[in-house]
Symmetry: C2
Subunit: 126 residues, 2 copies
């Protein structure tokens, strides 16, 4: 058929729903997706590539609002690469902090687990 993927195909590929893909376009995360003669979206390679980065940003907790800001920079041209870089580096720092907080908090939970294991072991040997 026509080239480009349908919304359903992209949904399968990215793990997002078709609803979400249309919504992403609406809020400005995707440039307007070209349509076939029947008005149906046909996602190009570059749209799917963009989604690849976007889903990683979301999965690491970047708010949609900030992703929109990044995409706006991309759309604005190549002169702001430094700003884009700063945004990504900032996020990188945030994610690293996030990971180490998870590890720290998990340690508290682990101590609790150890305690329960102790209780159960004591019961067993009574």
């Amino acid at each position: 058929m026509a080239d480009g993927l349908t919304v359903g195909e992209v949904a399968d590929k990215t793990g997002l729903t078709a609803y979400t893909l249309r919504w992403y376009e609406q809020v400005g995360l995707l440039d307007p997706i070209p349509r076939d003669h029947a008005g149906r979206r046909r996602y190009r390679l570059r749209d799917v590539e963009r989604l690849d980065l976007l889903t990683k940003m979301r999965a690491t907790g970047m708010p949609v609002r900030e992703m929109v800001r990044y995409v706006a920079l991309v759309r604005a041209g190549t002169h702001n690469r430094r700003e884009r870089l700063e945004l990504l580096e900032q996020h990188r720092t945030t994610v690293l902090r996030q990971i180490s907080e998870l590890q720290r908090d998990l340690a508290v939970i682990d101590r609790k687990i150890t305690r329960y294991r102790g209780h159960l072991h004591a019961e067993q040997t009574d």
Copy 2:
């Protein structure tokens, strides 16, 4: 004054707001907090200790619904320690997966960062 901490003091200590503390009690994450003669909450040590675990659970992404389930087990007595342990171990697994997904997703973002650094370096040396 009376012993036990006020809601404001506990808010400061835990980083939660007073609103959230009252809401936690309302949804069953905290047992009813005893009141002083004027009807004001006085949090006991064990309430604060419970909050210490609860905030770690939340911070690692456990849904409130599941925390409520855990607290219900605690309230039900000591005979279900195995069930509590299983719940915590399950969560532990979830958090570990979460961490490694963050690391995997961050790698994609890191590649993008590297690309931008390359661009900027090229510009510089032109």
